[in-house]
Symmetry: C2
Subunit: 328 residues, 2 copies
């Protein structure tokens, strides 16, 4: 047994209590410095340990383990998440899943990683994805729909994730157009769909999803704390990542099959009911320039219709949406 496993057992035998460094050093028969080094290792692996010079160490949080075999069995989907590629560490689950898609991986192939060293968000931005505390995943989709439906699948993915997270956490999670999930204005999840098409036919989509599940405030850079949060911070309790993935796969496949059979209308209605963007005046930065207006709903293609001050309606396909200008 490795010494940091022994140390972890010692901390776990004393839930919610401090264990003194002297006692640890004695029980494990190692120096105080060695104890401190093992504590650092556990922290790197996602454990949170409070250190008090007077009282010693106290275990605050243990990451839940993801067992990819048990995970695949935990949801009764036909395709989504049935083939799981699980990594301790990758550069980006998105890059791994794209390589799998290029080499013919079937629809529903899921890449999960405990840690991303080069996680990507929208528009090439970085994404904070520390070890063991979030869900960093990408899934291959192969819908037989024309290329103009790709933005509809972006909205569908946000709806599926929002509905499954609301059900599990009971937190007031809403969707900011097109596909960020927010709690009280702070981001808890980002979604990025990368599509490959041949003429008017989609070849595949790789849907990347990052969910800040059990991150604590200390996991975020100072400047992000005003804009980002986690389920654990908001609920005051950690959540099982495996349970979230299972619930999400189930909901995602259900809505996806509904979309393929019935089209986008039902998805658009669900999106609108969960959106925090509708009715909020915002500034939009589009490739053609900036404008201010109030989103009023989706059109049948998945673009957002925005009402300007003069009452005119514009349809926006692509933009960066700013903070609400008239937050109530």
């Amino acid at each position: 047994m490795k010494s940091h496993d022994q140390l972890l057992n010692l901390l776990k035998r004393h839930p919610d209590q401090y264990v003194s460094g002297a006692m640890m050093s004695q029980e494990l028969n190692v120096s105080r410095t060695a104890v401190w080094k093992q504590i650092r290792k556990l922290e790197t692996a996602g454990y949170e340990i409070e250190a008090s010079t007077k009282l010693g160490y106290r275990l605050l949080y243990s990451p839940d383990e993801i067992n990819s075999e048990r995970l695949a069995e935990s949801h009764s989907t036909a395709r989504f998440g049935q083939s799981i590629h699980y990594f301790e560490q990758v550069k980006s689950t998105q890059d791994s899943a794209r390589a799998l898609a290029e080499s013919g991986a079937p629809e529903g192939t899921l890449v999960l990683a405990e840690e991303q060293t080069g996680g990507r968000g929208r528009m090439g931005r970085g994404w904070v994805s520390p070890q063991g505390k979030g869900i960093w995943m990408s899934m291959v989709m192969r819908p037989h729909v024309p290329i103009h439906c790709a933005p509809q699948l972006t909205l569908l993915t946000a709806v599926a994730l929002c509905r499954s997270l609301r059900r599990l956490t009971e937190l007031p999670i809403g969707i900011k157009w097109p596909n960020d999930l927010l709690i009280r204005g702070k981001k808890i999840s980002g979604i990025l769909l990368e599509s490959a098409a041949e003429d008017e036919r989609l070849k595949y989509i790789v849907a990347g999803v990052g969910i800040s599940v059990n991150l604590s405030e200390g996991d975020y850079p100072e400047e992000l704390l005003a804009k980002a949060t986690s389920l654990r911070i908001e609920a005051g309790q950690p959540f099982s990542r495996s349970a979230i993935v299972a619930e999400f796969m189930q909901e995602w496949e259900t809505l996806y099959d509904l979309f393929l059979q019935e089209g986008f209308n039902a998805i658009a209605a669900l999106w609108e009911s969960l959106s925090v963007s509708i009715g909020q005046k915002v500034r939009l930065v589009t490739p053609q320039g900036e404008l201010e207006g109030t989103p009023v709903g989706l059109d049948e293609s998945g673009a957002i219709r925005v009402e300007r001050a003069d009452g005119s309606l514009v349809t926006i396909f692509s933009a960066e949406m700013g903070e609400p200008l008239n937050r109530s």
Copy 2:
């Protein structure tokens, strides 16, 4: 000087005349078998040589050479074809250009190859691309337009190619929906646009274009001759590939800039005026099933509107279009 260069010079010194095998063997001081082997090498390189047991050998056709530096200077575009990657042989120009696009190659980067060993057409089909006789090329585009505009760029590419080839060859070239070029019902060019998108934004498009310029009937497999032809077969004369590429780059960039400034309407009108599909009753195989009808025009997204026997109109985004059912 290599012996096949000497042999080529000998043939070129006798235009339209037969040179006997005995004379060649004597002049080059090699065996008759060696002469025959060199002839085979020239044929592989795109030369066409008629062999007569009585009269000897006669040079019928020499491939025009492509000089990528002179080519880039021959057209006055701002971006299209200004950076040229020229290869004697590649698996597929499309794969090479995609790799360049992924690593950040600028808009207009052009990949040209004398020969493709694994040329690809629509839906993973093969593409006949022998050495020195056609234009096998792929170009990187980075338009700042939403993903649903990708099919419009497919139609734009067909219009640009059709207009430049008609101007240079004066052949009656038409466009079969969406982007095949035909002369008298036979295919002379195929176009394949592969897009990569992030959510609703196009990251890049790689436009693959194959043009059967100087192929002779002997270059096609027997079963393709009823469906495929070349500019040379149809016009009874070869054409300069460099001149075609230069003309095409010029026209393509002009229409592309028009599209970015003014939108799709003008392009749609040009496409409709060059189309051989409009007004011709056809069978269409779509992902949802088969239907028969008569294409009547494009809608504003680039999809084709088809009138059915009962007078109803359907909009088709993606389909394989069959031969005309009522060819007049």
